[in-house]
């Protein structure tokens, strides 16, 4: 069941099984072993599931795989949530009494990184009373 789902998801993405295997960090010969019935390690299963935006349960056939359009929608919502979280953290820092700052953040910056960097900035500058 795993391999059938794996191939189906690869086809949906227009990629070959060996290509995806390499992308998730395993040897391309792994795809051949999977086609003969062996299963990936748990850590590899998680990487494959993440790559396709499905759950491990869906990948293994324990749950039904959602339509691709629905999965894409969920991914976009997740990204929007991450971005709004980063924006909120940066906005809070812009207005935070005693440690105001504007950071040139990369898109991938996390809220935790904003907080850590704000701590570091306050140490370096001694904070501000503005």
């Amino acid at each position: 069941m795993f391999y059938d789902n794996y191939v189906r998801l690869c086809n949906e993405q227009g990629e070959g099984p060996t290509v995806v295997a390499k992308k998730v960090g395993v040897d391309k010969s792994a795809a051949s072993r999977w086609s003969k019935g062996s299963l990936p390690r748990d850590t590899t299963l998680v990487k494959i599931a993440d790559y396709f935006g499905v759950t491990v349960g869906e990948l293994m056939g324990d749950e039904q795989i959602k339509p691709e359009t629905e999965r894409v929608g969920e991914k976009e919502t997740e990204n929007a949530t991450i971005n709004s979280g980063l924006e909120a953290a940066l906005e809070a820092l812009r207005n935070q009494p005693g440690r105001r700052a504007l950071l040139s953040a990369t898109k991938n910056m996390t809220e935790a990184q904003v907080l850590r960097f704000a701590d570091w900035l306050a140490d370096v500058t001694g904070g501000n009373k503005d």
Binding site: L102, N108, Q113, L121
Partner: protein, 78 residues
Amino acid sequence: MKYIAGADYYVHWLPFPEDNGTDGAAVVPNDDGTFSILMDEKLLQNAKKAYTTYQHEVCHIEDDDFYNEKPISEIEKI
């Protein structure tokens, strides 16, 4: 309004912590009304990137970004 380096704002080059998630720069307001632009020393390896990043920080000061009503997404172009 134009601000003058060394009078209205100061530029400090220093090593930023690893894996900080920034583009290598930040600006903070000082208690005396001036500003400090902090720049990651790693940017010194790429003069063009250093200059554009520095200009971005100066724009924050000139555009009054600590005090205007613009959303942070617009200010930082996230």
